[in-house]
C-alpha cells in the first residue's frame, strides 16, 4: 500500500478517489428516476415541491406559533425552540449515521471488493465516509434546510442570513457523519457482542422497550385531570420555557450550532455576531478532530473487518436434530417465523410499533379526556385517533416494502418451487397481519372506551383501520415484488434510499391524511353513517389491493428479478 501511495501522483490519486466515490454513489442511488429526461424533470419537480411543502408547513407552524404567542409574547418564536427542533434532528441524524456507518464501514459486502482495487485502504475508507456525507448532505438540504428556511421567513430574515444558512449547513452536515463514524466503533463492538450473546440482546431490548413503556405510562399518569389551555396558559408557558432552557442547557453544543446557523435576536432582528464565527470555527475544529480520531481508530478497525473471512462463528458440538415433516403451507409459515425471529432488528422494530400504537392512543385519549371540547372538537379527536393509528402503522409498513428484497437471491428460488406463488409470498406478511389485529384491536378498544361510540361503531372503525392496514401492507409488498432490490441486497446487504420504502412512506401519509380528512367531514355530517362509510371505504381499498396483488404476482412476478 505504501509503495502504491509513493508511486501514484497526487492528481491520479485524486482521480482514483473520485472514481471510487462515484462508483459507490452509482451503486447506491436509484438511477431509474433519472433514466430519461422526462423522469429527471419529474424527479426534480417532485423534490422541489417536497422542499416547498416542508418549507411552507414549517413557515405556517412558526408563523401561527408566533401569532398566537404559544412560546413567547414576542412576535418571533424564540431561537431556543428552533434549537430544540434542530437538536432533535441532529441527534436523529447522529443515530442514523452511527447505524448506517456501522453497516457500511464494517459489515458491507462491497468492502471485500473495494479493498482489492488498486487504491489505498485510506482511500476506500474515506470514500465511504464521503459517500455517506453526500447522502447526509442531501437529507440536510431537503429536510433540515426547508424547516429552518420556514423559521427564517416567519422571523423576517435578511437575504444574507439565508446565504449564510445554506453555506454553514454544508459544514454542519459533516458533524453527524464525523460523530457517527466515531460512535460506529463502540456500536459495532456492542452489536457484535450482542450477536454473540442472544440472551443479552433480548434482555437489553426488553429493558429498552420496558423503559419506554414505563416512561410513557408515567407520562400518561402525570396528565392532569382537567386541561384548560386558556386558564393554564401562564403555567404552560412557564413550563415550556423551563423545559426549553433545561434542554438547551444540557445540549449546549447543539444549541450553539443552532444559534450559529440562525443568528441571535438582537434589537428586534436576527443578526450574526462575532460569536457566530467563533462557533463556526469550533465546529470545523471539532469535525477535523473527530475525523482524525476516526482515521486513527476506525480505519484500522475497518481494514481488520474487511479481512475477516466469516462474520459468524460456527457453534461446535451441536446436537443433531431429527427431520420433521409438515404440510407445505405450515412449513412455509414456520420458515418465515424462524427467519423473522432470527432477523431481530426487523421483528423487534415491528413489535415496538405494534406496542406503540395502543400506548399512543391511550396517551392521546387521556389528554383529550382531560380537555373540555365542543362537539366539533370531539369529532376532531375521533379523527385524530384514526390519523395517529394509521400514521404509525402504515409508516411502519415501509419495512414490508423491502422484506422480499432482503431475501437476496434466495427469493428468486421461490419461483422454482411447485407451489402457487401467491401463498409463499403472503406467508411473508402473515405475522404482520396477525400482529396488526392485536395492535389495532387494543388501540380501538382504548379508543372506544374513551369515546361515545357504541361497540358496533367502534368495531366498524376497527375494521376500517385494519382494512387500510392490510391493504397498505399488500401494496408495500406488491411494490417490492414489482420493483425488487434483491440483487443490491445480495451484493451490499443494504439499499440506501430505497425507492420502495420512500413510496411506501409517502402512500402511508397520503392514506392516513385522506382517512383523517374524510372521517372529519363524515363525522361532522353524521357520526353513525360515517362509521359505515369509513368501514366500506376500507374494505373496498383492501379488496382492490388484494386483487391487484394476486393478479400482479400471477402475471408479472415471474419476470421480475
Amino acid at each position: 500500500m505504501k509503495e502504491l501511495k509513493a508511486k501514484t501522483p497526487l492528481k491520479a490519486r485524486l482521480k482514483h478517489f473520485i472514481s471510487l466515490v462515484l462508483m459507490q454513489l452509482r451503486d447506491k442511488m436509484d438511477r431509474t428516476a433519472f433514466s430519461t429526461k422526462r423522469k429527471a424533470i419529474f424527479r426534480v419537480v417532485f423534490l422541489a415541491l417536497r422542499f416547498i411543502a416542508v418549507a411552507a408547513i414549517s413557515y405556517l407552524l412558526f408563523y401561527y406559533a408566533a401569532l398566537f404567542g404559544i412560546f413567547s409574547i414576542s412576535s418571533v418564536v424564540p431561537i431556543g425552540i428552533v434549537a430544540v427542533i434542530f437538536t432533535i434532528i441532529f441527534v436523529l441524524s447522529v443515530l442514523s449515521c452511527t447505524s448506517g456507518l456501522m453497516n457500511t464501514l464494517y459489515f458491507a459486502d462491497d468492502n471485500k471488493v473495494l479493498v482489492t482495487l488498486p487504491v489505498t485502504g485510506d482511500m476506500v475508507f474515506f470514500s465511504k465516509l464521503v459517500v455517506y456525507f453526500i447522502f447526509e448532505l442531501g437529507r440536510s438540504y431537503t429536510f433540515t434546510l426547508p424547516i429552518l428556511l420556514g423559521y427564517g421567513m416567519s422571523a423576517g430574515f435578511g437575504f444574507g442570513m439565508y446565504v449564510w444558512l445554506i453555506f454553514a449547513l454544508f459544514f454542519v452536515s459533516a458533524a453527524p457523519v464525523a460523530l457517527g463514524a466515531l460512535l460506529s466503533m463502540p456500536a459495532m463492538a456492542a452489536y457484535k457482542g450482542l450477536k454473540r450473546h442472544e440472551t443479552a440482546k433480548i434482555a437489553l431490548l426488553c429493558l429498552v422497550v420496558g423503559a419506554c413503556v414505563w416512561g410513557i405510562i408515567s407520562l400518561i399518569l402525570a396528565i392532569p385531570e382537567n386541561i384548560n389551555i386558556v386558564e393554564q396558559r401562564p403555567w404552560i408557558m412557564q413550563s415550556i420555557y423551563s423545559f426549553v432552557s433545561a434542554f438547551n442547557k444540557y445540549t449546549y453544543p447543539s444549541y450553539k450550532i443552532a444559534t450559529m446557523l440562525m443568528g441571535s435576536y438582537v434589537n428586534m432582528r436576527f443578526v450574526h455576531t462575532g460569536e457566530t464565527f467563533v462557533t463556526f470555527g469550533f465546529l470545523l475544529a471539532a469535525i477535523v478532530v473527530f475525523l482524525v480520531i476516526v482515521y486513527l481508530l476506525a480505519k484500522p478497525l475497518f481494514l481488520k473487518m474487511t479481512a475477516q473471512p466469516f462474520e459468524y462463528e460456527k457453534k461446535e458440538n451441536i446436537r443433531a436434530r431429527a427431520n420433521s415433516k409438515h404440510t407445505k403451507y405450515r412449513s412455509i409459515l414456520l420458515k418465515e417465523l424462524r427467519l423473522a425471529l432470527r432477523s431481530t432488528e426487523i421483528s423487534y422494530s415491528f413489535i415496538v410499533v405494534y406496542l406503540a400504537v395502543p400506548i399512543m392512543i391511550l396517551l392521546l385519549n387521556k389528554i383529550f379526556a382531560a380537555m373540555s371540547t365542543k362537539l366539533l372538537g370531539q369529532y376532531m379527536t375521533y379523527s385524530f385517533n384514526l390519523l395517529i393509528i394509521l400514521l404509525i402503522l402504515l409508516a411502519s409498513n415501509a419495512i414490508v416494502s423491502t422484506m422480499y428484497s432482503m431475501e437476496g437471491r434466495a427469493g428468486g428460488m421461490k419461483k422454482t418451487k411447485p407451489i402457487n406463488l401467491v401463498i409463499p409470498l403472503l406467508c411473508k406478511i402473515f405475522y404482520n397481519g396477525i400482529m396488526s389485529i392485536v395492535s389495532i384491536g387494543a388501540a380501538m378498544a382504548i379508543f372506544g372506551a374513551h369515546t361515545h361510540f357504541t361497540i358496533a361503531q367502534t368495531l366498524m372503525l376497527a375494521i376500517c383501520v385494519l382494512a387500510f392496514q392490510y391493504g397498505h401492507i399488500l401494496w408495500c409488498a406488491e411494490r417490492d415484488l414489482m420493483n425488487p432490490q434483491n440483487e443490491q441486497y445480495a451484493t451490499s446487504g443494504t439499499v440506501m434510499n430505497n425507492p420502495n420504502s420512500n413510496k411506501a412512506t409517502l402512500t402511508a401519509f397520503l392514506i392516513a391524511f385522506a382517512v383523517f380528512g374524510a372521517s372529519l367531514k363524515l363525522f361532522t355530517e353524521n357520526p353513525v353513517s360515517a362509521c359505515i362509510k369509513l368501514m366500506l371505504a376500507g374494505i373496498v381499498f383492501f379488496i382492490m389491493r388484494a386483487y391487484l396483488f394476486v393478479v400482479k404476482v400471477r402475471v408479472y412476478y415471474r419476470e421480475k428479478m
Binding site: 429526461k37 422526462r38 424533470i41 419529474f42 419537480v45 417532485f46 415541491l49 466469516f310 462474520e311 459468524y312 462463528e313 460456527k314 457453534k315 461446535e316 451441536i318 446436537r319 443433531a320 436434530r321 427431520n323 420433521s324 415433516k325 409438515h326 404440510t327 407445505k328 405450515r330 412449513s331 412455509i332 414456520l334 420458515k335 424462524r338 427467519l339 432470527r342 432477523s343 431475501e407 437476496g408 437471491r409 434466495a410 427469493g411 428468486g412 428460488m413 419461483k415 422454482t416 418451487k417 411447485p418 407451489i419 402457487n420 391487484l548 393478479v551 400482479k552 400471477r554 402475471v555 408479472y556 415471474r558 419476470e559 428479478m561
Partner: protein, 787 residues
C-alpha cells in the same frame, strides 16, 4: 306537402351525387389525408396472438412523426359526396335557424300538441346522433358502424318522414313556413335516408348475430346520451324543483363533479381494448356531437358580433378537440391538453351561471356539457393513446401557444371593449379577483390606458401578468399529475392484457387435456423427456433475443452437457426451464408437462442447482432441507433416508444443524445440491455446480449425477469445465450468442479429436461466420447508401 317534395329533392340530389362519384368523379384524393395505415395493430386481437405482451401497449401508440398522414381512417370508398352535402345542409340548418326549442319547457308549445312536442324533441335528439353516425360511416369501416347505420340511423330518418312538420315548427319557428332552416332540414332527412338506403344495398343482410346485437345495443346508449342537445331535458320535463341548487360545493354540485371523473373512466374502460378504428370513431363522434350541442346557441348572426365569438378558454376546447382529432394537429392538441383541461375543471369547481339557473335548464346543461368535455376529452384522448404522452417539447409548444392565445385575447378584449362588454378568459373583468379576495383585487388597481385613434385600450398589467404566470405554473404541475394517472392507467392496461393471456393459456391447457386431470401431463408421449421447441427469449421490451429458435431433446437416463462461452444463453434457457423467467416464444416440455401452462406440475419434476447458491442463511441446513422436502411433499421415511445419505456423502455431519451463515461457499453449494435432490426429481438441472467445491465433493457430485441418470432420470448439466463434461456426459450441445450451434454424442470424440478441440473449433467457426455476415451486411448497406 312542400316538405315532402324537399325530402324527395334531397333524395334525388344524394342519388345524383352517388352516381357522379361512382361514374364521373374520382376525387377521393381530396380526403387522402384521412387514410388509415394498413398495417396498424388491431388491439381487438387477443394478447396471445401478439408475440410479445410487453409490446402490446407500445404498439398501440401511433408514431406521430412517422405516420402523420396515415393515422385517421380509410374511406369506405362510397357516398363521400352525399355526406359532404349532408354536412353542408346540416351546417346551414343549424346556424341559420330561429329555434324555438331553446325556450320550450315541459312540452308547452303553442302550435303543436304536447305528445307531438315530446316525440319531435326526442326525434331532434336522435337525429343528431344518427346524422353523425352516417357522416362518420364514410370514414370508418367496422362491423358495428354498419349495423348502426342500418338498424339505428335508418329508422330515425324514416321517423323523420313522419315528424317533419312538428319538428320544423319546433326548430325553425312556430308557423312552420318555408325558410332556409326548414328547407335544409327537409333535404337533410332526404339525403340521410338515401345514404342509409345505399348502406342497405351494400349489405342487404337483415340478420344480425347475437354478439353483434349486444355490441349494437351497448354502443347505442353512449351514442344517444352524448348527442343530448342542451334543450331536451327542459323541453321534456320543464324545470326541476327549486331547491336543487348546484352552485357552490353542495352535495348536488359534488355529484356533478364526480361524474366528471366517472364518465371518462367509464369510457376508457369501455373502449380501451377495442380496435384503433373504434377508438377513433368514438372520440371523433363524441367531440363532434358535443361540439354540436355546444354551438346550439350560435347562429350566423352571432359570428358578425365579435363580443359573441367563442373565444373563452373552455369554449375553444369544444372545436379544437374535433379539429385536432380530424386533422391530427398535435401541437394544437397539446395546447388544449395543458390549458383547456385545467380551465374547464376550475370552471366546474366554481360554476358561474346566474342565480335561479335550474338543474334541467338549457343553460345549465350547456354549461356542463361544455366543461365536462373540455375537461376530460383531451385526457381521454391521451389515455387512449390517440396522441402520444407529451414530452417537454410538447409542453413548451403548448406554452408558446398559450402565450399567443393570451396576447391575442388581451388585444381582442381591449379592442372589442370599445363596442360592448367583452371578458374573454376573464382577463378584462374582476370576476377572478373577486373570488380570491382583497389582496387579489388590489392587483387590478394598477392600470395602463392608451388610445389608438378613437379606440381606448385598458389593461391591468400586474393582474394579467400574474394570471399568466400562475396558469403556466399550474399547467406544469398538472402535467405531473396527468403523468401519474397515465402511469397507473398504462400499468393497469398491461396487467389486464397479461391476465387475459394467462386465462387463455389456462383454457388452452384444458382444451389440450381434453377432460383429463389438470395435474396430468399435457403431452402423454413425452413423459420421460425434456423437450425444448423453437424456444426464444427476450428480456423486457428489448428487441434483442438472448436466445433464439433453440431446439433440444434430452432423454431419460442421459447426462446432457450444455457448453458455451459466458453470455451464450445457457443460464437463460435453464432459468426458463425451471420457471424463474417466462418464455417469450416456443414451448418447453418437462417430462410431458408444459413448463408454462402447467408450471407447478413441471416444477415438481425438476431439481435445480443454481449457478450461485441462494439459501435462507439464517436457517440451519436441516431446517432448510426439510422446508424444501415439505414443499415437494417428500414422505418422512424417504427424506430421513435421503438426507442422512447426503450428509454422509458430503461430509456435513458436524455442520448440518448449524446456521448456514457459518458455512463455507462449498458447504452452501452442497446444501443447494441436497435441496435439488431431496425429492428425487425426474429432471435434475445443474448450472455450473462445481464452482467452489473441493476435489472430493466434485467427485461425489459427479457420482451422484451418474447414479441419478442410471436410475432413469435426466441430468441436464451446464459447465465450463470441458474435461468433466467429456468424462461424464452422454451428449453435449454447444450454444453461442443465443443460438444452438450443434448437438453431438460424446462417443464421437477420442484422443485425436477431443471435445475441447471440437468446442474451440465450433466457436471459432461460428465467430468467423458471424463476422462474415456482419461484413456482408455492412457492404450491402454501403452499396445501398451509394445507390
Amino acid at each position: 306537402m312542400q316538405y315532402y317534395l324537399l325530402i324527395i329533392a334531397g333524395i334525388v340530389i344524394a342519388v345524383g351525387l352517388v352516381c357522379f362519384e361512382r361514374y364521373v368523379g374520382e376525387f377521393r384524393f381530396l380526403f387522402s389525408f384521412l387514410r388509415k395505415r394498413e398495417d396498424d395493430v388491431d388491439l381487438s386481437s387477443t394478447a396471445s396472438e401478439n408475440e410479445n405482451y410487453d409490446d402490446v401497449s407500445s404498439k398501440h401508440i401511433p408514431n406521430n412523426k412517422k405516420s402523420k398522414r396515415d393515422r385517421f381512417a380509410k374511406l369506405n370508398g362510397k357516398y363521400l359526396y352525399p355526406v359532404i352535402a349532408l354536412i353542408i345542409l346540416f351546417t346551414i340548418r343549424y346556424l341559420s335557424g330561429d329555434r324555438a326549442l331553446w325556450d320550450v319547457a315541459a312540452l308547452s308549445y303553442p302550435t303543436v300538441a304536447p305528445w307531438l312536442v315530446a316525440l319531435s324533441g326526442i326525434f331532434m335528439w336522435l337525429e343528431i346522433a344518427a346524422l353523425f353516425v352516417v357522416i362518420l360511416y364514410v370514414f370508418f369501416d367496422f362491423a358495428n358502424i354498419n349495423n348502426l347505420v342500418k338498424f339505428f340511423a335508418t329508422p330515425i330518418f324514416v321517423l323523420g318522414l313522419l315528424l317533419i312538420i312538428p319538428a320544423i315548427k319546433l326548430f325553425c319557428g312556430a308557423s312552420g313556413e318555408l325558410n332556409l332552416s326548414s328547407v335544409t332540414m327537409a333535404m337533410e332527412i332526404g339525403v340521410g335516408l338515401t345514404i342509409c338506403a345505399f348502406a342497405w344495398l351494400r349489405d342487404r343482410n337483415f340478420k344480425i348475430s347475437k354478439s353483434e346485437l349486444i355490441n349494437l345495443l351497448l354502443s347505442l346508449l353512449p351514442i344517444i346520451i352524448a348527442a343530448l342537445p342542451p334543450y331536451t331535458l327542459q323541453l321534456l320535463f320543464g324545470y326541476a324543483k327549486g331547491f336543487i341548487d348546484i352552485k357552490g360545493i353542495t352535495p348536488e354540485h359534488r355529484i356533478f363533479l364526480y361524474f366528471a371523473f366517472i364518465i371518462p373512466i367509464a369510457i376508457y374502460f369501455a373502449i380501451r381494448n377495442k380496435s384503433e378504428d373504434v377508438i377513433r370513431f368514438s372520440m371523433v363522434y363524441l367531440s363532434l356531437v358535443t361540439m354540436t350541442s355546444y354551438t346550439f346557441n350560435y347562429t350566423f348572426a352571432d359570428f358578425l358580433n365579435p363580443t359573441h365569438w367563442p373565444l373563452h378558454l373552455c369554449n375553444t376546447a369544444m372545436y379544437i378537440v374535433p379539429l385536432c382529432l380530424i386533422f391530427k394537429w398535435d401541437k394544437l392538441f397539446y395546447f388544449t391538453y395543458f390549458i383547456n383541461v385545467m380551465g374547464a375543471f376550475l370552471a366546474m369547481a366554481m360554476p358561474n351561471y346566474a342565480d335561479g339557473t335550474n338543474i334541467l335548464s338549457t343553460h345549465l346543461v350547456l354549461f356542463w356539457t361544455n366543461h365536462f368535455c373540455a375537461f376530460f376529452m383531451p385526457l381521454l384522448i391521451v389515455a387512449l393513446k390517440i396522441f402520444q404522452r407529451p414530452k417537454l417539447r410538447q409542453f413548451i409548444y403548448s406554452m408558446v401557444g398559450f402565450l399567443i392565445y393570451f396576447v391575442f385575447i388581451l388585444i381582442i378584449n381591449g379592442w372589442f371593449s370599445n363596442y360592448g362588454s367583452v371578458d374573454y378568459f376573464f382577463l378584462n373583468s374582476d370576476f377572478i379577483v373577486d373570488k380570491l379576495g382583497l389582496w387579489a383585487e388590489k392587483t387590478r388597481d394598477l392600470t395602463w390606458k392608451f388610445n389608438i385613434g378613437e379606440l381606448r385600450f385598458v389593461y391591468y398589467p400586474i393582474y394579467q401578468l400574474l394570471f399568466f404566470l400562475v396558469y403556466v405554473g399550474i399547467a406544469f404541475g398538472m402535467w405531473f399529475i396527468y403523468e401519474q394517472f397515465f402511469i397507473i392507467a398504462d400499468s393497469h392496461f398491461d396487467m389486464h392484457n397479461r391476465n387475459r393471456a394467462y386465462r387463455q393459456d389456462k383454457y388452452a391447457l384444458l382444451s389440450k387435456l381434453n377432460g383429463r386431470k389438470m395435474t396430468g401431463p399435457m403431452y402423454t408421449e413425452e413423459t420421460d423427456k425434456l423437450i425444448i421447441e423453437n424456444f426464444g427469449k427476450r428480456y423486457g421490451s428489448s428487441n434483442v433475443y438472448a436466445v433464439r429458435n433453440a431446439n433440444l431433446e434430452v432423454h431419460a437416463g442421459e447426462i446432457f452437457g450444455f457448453l458455451g462461452p459466458n453470455g451464450a444463453g445457457k443460464s437463460t434457457i435453464i432459468k426458463s426451464i425451471v420457471g424463474i423467467q417466462p418464455i417469450t416464444e416456443g414451448t418447453i416440455k418437462v417430462c410431458g408437462y408444459d413448463a408454462e401452462k402447467q408450471a407447478v406440475e413441471a416444477k415438481r419434476q425438476i431439481g435445480y442447482v443454481p449457478d450461485h447458491y441462494a439459501l435462507y442463511e439464517r436457517l440451519t441446513g436441516r431446517e432448510y432441507i426439510n422446508y424444501i422436502a415439505d414443499i415437494y411433499d417428500v414422505p418422512k421415511a424417504e427424506r430421513d433416508q435421503r438426507i442422512e445419505g447426503f450428509i454422509k456423502l458430503f461430509e456435513l455431519e458436524g455442520a448440518f444443524d448449524n446456521s448456514m451463515r457459518t458455512y463455507s461457499h462449498g458447504m452452501k453449494q452442497k446444501i443447494a445440491i441436497m435441496a435439488a435432490l431431496v425429492h428425487n426429481p425426474k429432471l435434475w438441472i445443474l448450472d455450473e455446480p462445481l464452482t467452489g467445491l473441493d476435489p472430493n465433493s466434485i467427485y461425489q457430485v459427479k457420482e451422484c449425477m451418474k447414479n441419478h441418470a442410471k436410475a432413469g432420470n435426466i441430468v441436464f448439466f451446464s459447465s465450463h469445465i470441458i474435461d468433466v463434461v467429456e468424462r461424464i456426459c452422454d451428449r453435449i450441445t454447444i450454444i453461442k450468442q443465443g443460438t444452438i450451434l450443434c448437438t453431438r454424442s460424446v462417443s464421437e470424440f477420442n484422443e485425436n479429436n477431443t471435445l475441447e478441440d471440437f468446442y474451440l473449433k465450433t466457436i471459432e467457426e461460428s465467430e468467423a461466420k458471424r463476422q462474415q455476415i456482419s461484413a456482408d451486411k455492412k457492404g450491402k448497406e454501403q452499396l445501398g447508401e451509394r445507390a
